[in-house]
């Protein structure tokens, strides 16, 4: 490569496209540096790397769905309640009976799709601000759920716990499942008409409508996918915890964390730009931050303060270069 090639705009380094990769590399380097500096090489085993990745599978699956919602310039605050509801329905319907596994999964997926459909219709047809629509939906789901259940309810059969605990060699099924789901999402966004419609609608809804895209369908579709992913995350959580309780979604702060992860991954909150691999990078960055805190032995409350600062700093990392005004 010659020096002159640097001057041509064609080869210019697109900072915003690579920001999530840079952040991921930085997080990995900090982790490695810390582990080596403290001489704790036992944290460098393959098992430990897999443990880091496995820690945030619920967040990862949820964030894949959230990516779709944010790409169409919407947002979904109801995912945490959907996770709780899905986990409770899974464990209550199964109730220890292996024969009920498929009906339970089907019921949860239908529930997720219906919630997404309602979210999408309220946002696209009634033109309610997506924050408010999904926040309201979240309150409604949470209210209904805690009316019927106030503690762990039902239990999942041992056969179903394989989803969370089974492994091929050292790699858990659930980890493979998450990356397969991310691959599927990438395929949909990259190679299907629905995927390109999502980017058009997110970029400029009016222009997309004038170009003949049925924007309502695209927004509704994105929300159905988002709620479906949250429902799947709830199924996974039920399998891992062996039961479901109405507070597990809210306790994990999956609504806000999934948004933070998507944004750290380079998807723009205003919609139309970003992608699912950035989101996965964001998820891994989040687990690495947790691991860094654990290795360094940071106090739990200090950890929380730093977490808040890191979320803002990571978003600022590339948002600061944007020329567009923000509110």
């Amino acid at each position: 490569m010659t020096d002159t090639s640097l001057a041509t705009p064609r080869r210019r380094f697109r900072f915003d496209r690579n920001a999530s990769a840079i952040l991921l590399i930085a997080a990995v380097l900090i982790y490695l540096g810390l582990v080596l500096a403290l001489g704790q090489t036992r944290f460098l085993t393959l098992e430990n790397v897999i443990a880091i990745l496995t820690r945030s599978i619920t967040l990862g699956i949820t964030a894949i769905g959230q990516t779709f919602a944010i790409l169409v310039a919407s947002i979904d605050l109801s995912v945490a309640s959907v996770i709780s509801a899905a986990a409770v329905v899974t464990s209550v319907v199964m109730n220890g009976n292996p024969a009920m596994m498929l009906p339970a999964i089907a019921a949860v997926l239908v529930m997720g799709a219906v919630i997404g459909l309602i979210n999408g219709l309220v946002i696209a047809r009634l033109e309610v601000n997506p924050l408010i629509a999904t926040l309201g939906m979240s309150l409604i789901i949470q209210g209904i759920l805690s009316y019927f259940y106030n503690n762990f309810a039902g239990n999942v059969p041992a056969e179903f716990q394989v989803f969370a605990y089974g492994t091929i060699g050292v790699v858990p099924y659930s980890l493979i499942f998450m990356f397969a789901l991310a691959g599927l999402a990438w395929f949909v966004l990259r190679f299907t008409r629905f995927g390109s419609d999502i980017y058009s609608v997110g970029g400029n809804q009016d222009a997309a409508r004038l170009a003949g895209i049925k924007t309502v369908r695209v927004v509704v579709g994105a929300h159905i996918l988002c709620s479906l992913c949250a429902a799947i995350a709830g199924i996974y959580l039920a399998s891992r915890l062996r039961s479901g309780a109405p507070w597990i979604g809210a306790e994990g702060v999956y609504d806000l964390e999934s948004i933070a992860v998507v944004v750290i991954g380079g998807t723009v909150l205003a919609g139309g730009r970003g992608g699912v691999w950035g989101t996965m990078a964001g998820v891994i960055i989040f687990s690495l931050i947790d691991s860094i805190f654990n290795v360094a032995g940071v106090d739990a409350f200090v950890k929380q303060v730093l977490r808040g600062i890191i979320i803002v700093a990571a978003v600022a990392f590339y948002a600061a270069r944007s020329q567009r005004p923000v509110a």
Partner: protein, 293 residues
């Protein structure tokens, strides 16, 4: 249904209960009208209550410096929020979310997870004390006086000053406002600072009424947004009214009180709040479309 509401005292107690939320909502409205969100107000209320109880250590004279100190902390929080939004270009949703997480952590750190000490009576005066034997209305809670006073100040600031008009202009179209000579940045800074200051005041009143607990302010940020939306405020800026927002807070609390009286549990409260939220915004959007604005 409940004889307490046949008497003025019942209404005064209701107003006392709603005081913190109403003041908070009116302050949060400033940020909403300017086009942003402030999710950090609930955690700032928690921090105010926890911090005050840690600092007071049962000394009744401490109130006179603790409240100004807390207001100072609030102003700094608001300032940081806005500087992160406008200098680092972080969307206010994320910026104040980060602030919310951090402030909750600070409150935990400060108290070590379990708050010690309690608030002296001089501090709790604002939220708890009732002036007895007032003609016509029986009792007059100090919280209601605070609500009236701060409500008036916030109303005046938003609807009777040049600053209020600039705030609306910034929220409606920041580019146009800038070209028209509005100092966009300082208008935004003041909106976030006002929101944080009212959160501290609301925290003082809430702490006075309800006492110390580690999650006392959680959920208030969303209730404040709900109250503003019921009051017709437009999210993402440009439209909103202080009296209507206070009325929204009153309506929200009235509905909660009604549900309580009907013996319906907390879960139903959530469902109703959700339905009201979606319904209010859907109705407002429908109205706007019908008149073609």
């Amino acid at each position: 249904m409940n004889p307490a509401f046949a008497e003025p005292t019942g209404y005064m107690n209701y107003l006392k209960r709603v005081g913190a939320l109403a003041i908070l909502s009116a302050g949060a409205l400033y940020v909403i009208v300017s086009g942003g969100f402030d999710l950090s107000v609930g955690s700032l209320m928690t921090l105010t209550v926890i911090g005050s109880s840690m600092l007071a250590s049962n000394d009744p004279n401490s109130t006179y410096w603790i409240i100004p100190l807390m207001l100072g902390i609030g102003a700094v929080v608001g300032l940081i929020n806005e500087l992160v939004v406008s200098n680092l270009k972080v969307p206010s949703l994320i910026a104040t979310l980060g602030m919310m997480i951090s402030l909750n952590g600070v409150a935990f750190m400060w108290s070590g997870g379990a708050p010690r000490g309690y608030l002296p009576d001089t501090f709790r005066f604002f939220g708890r004390y009732n002036i007895p034997d007032v003609p016509l209305i029986g009792i007059l809670p100090v919280a209601v006086i605070c609500l009236a006073a701060f409500g008036l100040v916030l109303w005046w600031g938003m609807h009777r000053t040049n600053y209020g008009r600039m705030l609306h202009a910034v929220g409606d179209n920041p580019q146009a406002a800038r070209l028209a000579g509005v100092p966009v940045k300082s208008v935004r800074i003041s909106a976030f600072v006002i929101s944080s200051l009212t959160a501290v005041l609301a925290g003082v009143i809430l702490g006075g009424r309800a006492g110390v607990s580690v999650d006392i302010g959680s959920g208030f940020e969303l209730q404040a947004i709900t109250a503003a939306v019921i009051g017709g405020a437009q999210l993402l800026g440009g439209r909103g009214s202080v009296p209507a927002t206070i009325a929204g807070a009153l309506a929200l609390e009235a509905i909660f009180t009604l549900l309580n009286l009907l013996g319906l549990a907390q879960p139903i409260r959530l469902v109703v709040q959700g339905l009201i939220l979606i319904g209010a915004v859907a109705f407002a959007t429908y109205q706007r479309k019908r008149v073609g604005r």
